[in-house]
C-alpha cells in the first residue's frame, strides 16, 4: 500500500466500446486499492477499535457486560444490537479490516509482479544527459581504454546490479542499481500481515479453551472434558471429542509474600495423568504447564475452608468450599449449604426448617481484635473463618438455579431462610454448637487455583508471520533504492590520433527513494570507481 515512488501510468488503452458495468467495477477496484482509501480504512480501523476499550467486552469480561446492563438498562440493549459489546467480532469492525486487507491484496499483487519483473530485468542504460540527474560528477580523465575503464567501474560497484553497454559512437556506459531489498521488505511485510490474519482466523477455528477452579487433593482432580470446565469455548471446527485426554490433580500450591503482603512467587505442583502414565509437574505464573495438545495457565489462587457439619442425628457431612478472595490480602467470601441434613433416620423425612446454610468470611491471618472483617496478611499465620448461620428451607428442590457462591436471596426475602444469631469466629479445630443440636466445625483449609486450559494450533504461524513482518518492515524502512550511471567516452586526444587508452569518465546518480545521504555515497562511489585499476 505504500506508494510506488515513481509510478509510471500505463499508456491509455485504445478506445473501445466501454462496458459500463465492467468500467464501474474497475473504477471501484481502483478506488478501493488506492492509497487514499487505504489511509481512510486505517483511520476507521483505529477509530472502530476505541469503543472496545471504553465499553465492557464479552470476550474480555462477561460479568462486566452484565453490570453495564444493570447500570444502563435503556442503552445497553441498543448497544448490544449494534455489536458494541463484541466490537472485535462485530460486522462493522470485520467489514473495515476485510476491506483493508482486500485493498492490501489489490495493491500488493500488482506490485509483487512489478517487483519480480524489476528483479529479473537488467539496470537501465544511462540517460543521455547525466548532468540532469540529482547527482552528477563532471567528466574526468582516466588513462585506461573505455572498455577497460567501464569493466573496472562495474567491478568497483559492489552490491550493485550492473550492466555494461558498448555504444556505436565508441562510448561505454555502466548502469547500476541497488536497494531492491526495500521493495522486497515492503512486500514481505504486507504478505506477512496477510499470514497473521490467516493465522488469527485459523486459531479461532481450531483453538479451544476451558477455565476452572481446582481444589487441592486427589478427590478434586479434573479431566480435560468439556463438562468439567466452569467456562469454556470451542473453535468452530473443534468437537468436544477432539480435546486431548489428560487429567490434572493439584498436589500443593506454594505462594510467598513480602512482609507487607505483596506476592513474590506462586507455584503449583500437580500430577498429570495421560495415557495411563502419571507424572509430577509444576508450573507457575509466566511458566505454564505445556502438555501435549494444550497448555495449562495459572490464573488465580485462594483458600477453601473445610467445613464439617454434624446434624442432630450424628450424621456428618464435610464440604471443602472455595472462598473467593475480595482483596489482595486474601480476605475471602464463600457460602456452604447443607440441604440433605437432619433427616430423621427413623422416618426418612426432613422437618421443615432443618436445612442449614453458612455465609463465611475467611481470613488467613485474622486481626487480633474485633472487628474481624478483613485479613491482615495473605499467608496462613492465624487463620480463622467468620460464619453467619441461616436456617430454614434452601429452596433447592424447587429447581431454582443456585449459585454455589451465593445464598438463595429469594428464600431469605420470602422469610423461608432465616439468619440465626450473631456471627461466630472459628479457628481451625473449633466448632459451633447450633440451637437444634447440629454443630459446624472448621476443620482447616485446602488451597485452590484457577486455571485456564488452552490450545491454539495457529500460534507458530502467527509468530513466524509477525517476525517475518518485522524483518520486512525494517528492510523497507531502512532500504534505499538508487541508481548510478557512468559514461566512459574516448577522450579528445584519442579521437585526434593521440595516445590510445585515454578516456573521460562522467557519472550521474538518481536516488529512487527518500535518501538524504545519497550525495555522500555517490561521491564515494565515484571516487572508488575512478580508483579501481583495470585488470
Amino acid at each position: 500500500m505504500t506508494a510506488v515512488d515513481e509510478r509510471v501510468e500505463p499508456a491509455p488503452a485504445p478506445p473501445r466500446r466501454p462496458n459500463r458495468l465492467l468500467a464501474s467495477l474497475r473504477n471501484g477496484w481502483r478506488q478501493l486499492t488506492s492509497m487514499r482509501t487505504a489511509l481512510v480504512l486505517l483511520f476507521l480501523l483505529a477509530l472502530a477499535a476505541i469503543p472496545g476499550s471504553l465499553l465492557p467486552q464479552r470476550g474480555v469480561n462477561r460479568e462486566n457486560v452484565g453490570e453495564y446492563y444493570a447500570a444502563h438498562p435503556d442503552l445497553a440493549p441498543t448497544l448490544d444490537r449494534l455489536g458494541f459489546f463484541e466490537v472485535y467480532a462485530s460486522p462493522w469492525f470485520s467489514a473495515i479490516y476485510l476491506l483493508l486487507f482486500t485493498s492490501l491484496i489489490g495493491c500488493v499483487l500488482p506490485r509483487l509482479a512489478e517487483h519480480v519483473r524489476a528483479l529479473r530485468s537488467v539496470p537501465p542504460d544511462a540517460p543521455r544527459n547525466l548532468a540532469r540527474l540529482p547527482q552528477h560528477a563532471a567528466p574526468a580523465a582516466s588513462d585506461a581504454a573505455p572498455a577497460d575503464a567501464a569493466a573496472a567501474i562495474a567491478r568497483s560497484l559492489r552490491g550493485f546490479r550492473t550492466r555494461v553497454r558498448e555504444h556505436a559512437d565508441g562510448s561505454w556506459t555502466v548502469g547500476a542499481e541497488k536497494g531492491y531489498a526495500k521493495e522486497t521488505g515492503n512486500l514481505l511485510f504486507h504478505v506477512a500481515l496477510l499470514a497473521v490474519l490467516v493465522g488469527v482466523g485459523f486459531g479461532s477455528w481450531y483453538g479451544w479453551h476451558g477455565n476452572r477452579l481446582v481444589v487441592a487433593g486427589a478427590d478434586k482432580a479434573f479431566c480435560n472434558t468439556l463438562q468439567q470446565y466452569d467456562e469454556s469455548g470451542l473453535g468452530a471446527r473443534v468437537q468436544p471429542a477432539d480435546l486431548p485426554p489428560f487429567c490434572v490433580q493439584l498436589d500443593t500450591f506454594d505462594a510467598t509474600w513480602t512482609e507487607d503482603g505483596q506476592p513474590t512467587s506462586f507455584r503449583a505442583d500437580v500430577t498429570v495423568e495421560s495415557g495411563g502414565a502419571a507424572e509430577q509437574r509444576s508450573f507457575s505464573v509466566n511458566d505454564p504447564l505445556r502438555l501435549d495438545g494444550a497448555s495449562v495457565y495459572l490464573l488465580g489462587n485462594g483458600y477453601a475452608p473445610i467445613l464439617r457439619f454434624t446434624d442432630r442425628y450424628g450424621q456428618q457431612l464435610t464440604r471443602v468450599v472455595p472462598f473467593l478472595p475480595t482483596d489482595s490480602l486474601q480476605t475471602a467470601e464463600g457460602v456452604a449449604m447443607f440441604a440433605d441434613v437432619n433427616v430423621d433416620p427413623a422416618t426418612g423425612r426432613q422437618p421443615a426448617d432443618a436445612q442449614w446454610a453458612f455465609e463465611g468470611l475467611y481470613m488467613p491471618t485474622v486481626r487480633s481484635q474485633p472487628p474481624f472483617t478483613s485479613s491482615t496478611y495473605p499467608g496462613e499465620r492465624d487463620p480463622a473463618v467468620m460464619l453467619f448461620a441461616y436456617r430454614g428451607d434452601l429452596g433447592l428442590e424447587v429447581g431454582n438455579p443456585a449459585s454455589v457462591y451465593q445464598l438463595p436471596r429469594g428464600q431469605i426475602d420470602r422469610g423461608k431462610l432465616k439468619p440465626v444469631g450473631e456471627g461466630r469466629l472459628l479457628r481451625p479445630g473449633e466448632a459451633w454448637q447450633l440451637a437444634d443440636g447440629s454443630r459446624i466445625e472448621f476443620a482447616g483449609t485446602r488451597r485452590w487455583i484457577t486455571v485456564s486450559v488452552r490450545a491454539n494450533p495457529a500460534q507458530s504461524l502467527l509468530l513466524v508471520g509477525s517476525v517475518a513482518g518485522l524483518a520486512g518492515l525494517m528492510l523497507s524502512l531502512a532500504g534505499r533504492r538508487r541508481r548510478v550511471f557512468f559514461r566512459v567516452t574516448p577522450a579528445g586526444p584519442a579521437a585526434a590520433g593521440g595516445p590510445a587508452g585515454v578516456s573521460l569518465i562522467e557519472a550521474g546518480g538518481l536516488p529512487r527513494t527518500d535518501y538524504p545521504g545519497f550525495a555522500d555515497e555517490f561521491d564515494r562511489l565515484v571516487a572508488a570507481a575512478r580508483a579501481e585499476r583495470p585488470e
Binding site: 489511509l39 486505517l42 509477525s466 518485522l470 524502512l477
Partner: protein, 331 residues
C-alpha cells in the same frame, strides 16, 4: 534512604526542566530579530543540515552550547541567546538529575525501574530526554525546540509524581519474567522516541503555517523554528526508527509474554487495544508520508494523532480502565 534520595532528585529534575523551559521561553520572547535575520542570511547552512547524513558535514560539534551559534556566525552575545544557552545547560542538569532519580529508584527497589506506572513514566521520559539530548548534539540548530521538549517532560514527570507515585516495592509475580525486560524495554524506548517525535511534527505545522503567511497566534511560534524540510525529515526519522521497535515490543514480545502469562497472545485488554490503535495510526503516518499525493501537513497531523493515542495509553488506560495491565496503583 535511596528511595528518599530518588524522590528528592525527582524534584530537582522537574525544577531543572522547568528552569530550562523558562530559559527557552525567554529566548523566544526576548530574542532580537537578529537571530531570524541571520538564519535567513545563510540558507545554505540550513540546507546543509536538511541534507545532512548521519554525521554533520561541518566541523565536529564539541558541545551544543558552543555550537549553538554556528561555526560561521559570530558568537551571539545578546541576552536572549544567553538565556537559550543557559536553558540547554539547565536541560543537561535536568537529564543528570533525571538519570539519578531513575538509578537511585532502581537501587532502592533492587531491580529494573519499570515495575509500575510511576517508574514506567519516569524511565520512558528519561529515554525521551536522552534522545532529545542526542538530537541536540547532532543538530544544534534545533535548540529552539527545547521549549516544547522541556514542556512535555515537565508535564509528564510532574503528572507521574503527582498521580502515579508508588512507594518502592518488589515485582508482582506476573511481572517476574525475562519478557518483562524485553517487552517493557522495547515499548518504553519506542514510546520515548514517539513522545519526542511529536515536537518536530508540531513545529513543522507551525513553521509551514508561518511560511504560508499565517500570522495568528500559534503560527507566530513557527517564526523561529528551524527550516520546515529539516523538521519534516527529523519527524520521519524518529517515527521510522521507533515504529519497528514499537511493533516488536507491543505486537510481538507483548503477545509472546501474554501467551505464557495469561494463556492467550491477544485478548483486547484496554492496553492492547490502545497499543493496536497507536500502531495503526503510526502505520497511517508512514503510509501517508510515503504517498506523494498526500500533503505533508496531513501526514504530520496523523503523527500528532499517534502521539495523542500514546498519551491515552500511558495515562488514560492506566487510570480510567480496569484491565490486565493494571499494575499502576494510582489512586
Amino acid at each position: 534512604m535511596m528511595e528518599e534520595l530518588s524522590n528528592q532528585l525527582l524534584v530537582v529534575t522537574v525544577l531543572a526542566y522547568l528552569a530550562a523551559m523558562i530559559g527557552h521561553a525567554a529566548e523566544y520572547a526576548f530574542g532580537t530579530r537578529s537571530h531570524v535575520g541571520r538564519a535567513a542570511l545563510r540558507p545554505e547552512a540550513e540546507l546543509a543540515y536538511a541534507g545532512a547524513p548521519a554525521t554533520p558535514p561541518a566541523a565536529p560539534v564539541v558541545s551544543p552550547v558552543a555550537a549553538a551559534a554556528g561555526p560561521a556566525a559570530p558568537r551571539d552575545t545578546t541576552g536572549a541567546a544567553w538565556a537559550g544557552r543557559a536553558a540547554v545547560a539547565l536541560y543537561a542538569v535536568g537529564v543528570a538529575a533525571h538519570t539519578g532519580t531513575v538509578v537511585t529508584r532502581g537501587l532502592a527497589a533492587g531491580r529494573l525501574t519499570w515495575g509500575n506506572m510511576y517508574e514506567y513514566i519516569l524511565t520512558a521520559t528519561l529515554i525521551a530526554a536522552v534522545v532529545w539530548a542526542g538530537v541536540l548534539v547532532r543538530r544544534p540548530a534545533l535548540r529552539h525546540l527545547g521549549l516544547y521538549v522541556s514542556l512535555v517532560l515537565v508535564v509528564l514527570i510532574g503528572a507521574a509524581g503527582m498521580v502515579a507515585y508508588t512507594p518502592v516495592g518488589p515485582l508482582v509475580p506476573a511481572l517476574d519474567s525475562y519478557w518483562f525486560v524485553i517487552h517493557v524495554a522495547a515499548v518504553m524506548i519506542s514510546s520515548g522516541i514517539f513522545l519526542v517525535g511529536v515536537v518536530p511534527a508540531t513545529m513543522y505545522l507551525l513553521r509551514t503555517g508561518y511560511d504560508n503567511g499565517k500570522r495568528s497566534f500559534p503560527y507566530t511560534l513557527g517564526r523561529r523554528a528551524p527550516a520546515a524540510a529539516l523538521l519534516e525529515r527529523l519527524t520521519f526519522r524518529m517515527h521510522a526508527f521507533a515504529f519497528p521497535i514499537w511493533t516488536f515490543g507491543a505486537l510481538i514480545a507483548g503477545p509472546i509474554w501474554a501467551e505464557a502469562s495469561w494463556g492467550r497472545y491477544w485478548g483486547w485488554d484496554p492496553k492492547e487495544v490502545w497499543a493496536f490503535i497507536s500502531w495503526v495510526v503510526y502505520a497511517g503516518y508512514l503510509h501517508a508520508r510515503a504517498t506523494p499525493s498526500v500533503k505533508r501537513t496531513t501526514a504530520m497531523w496523523i503523527a500528532i494523532a499517534g502521539f495523542v493515542t500514546m498519551l491515552m495509553n500511558l495515562f488514560g488506560v492506566n487510570l480510567f480502565f480496569e484491565g490486565l495491565h493494571s499494575y499502576a496503583d494510582a489512586g
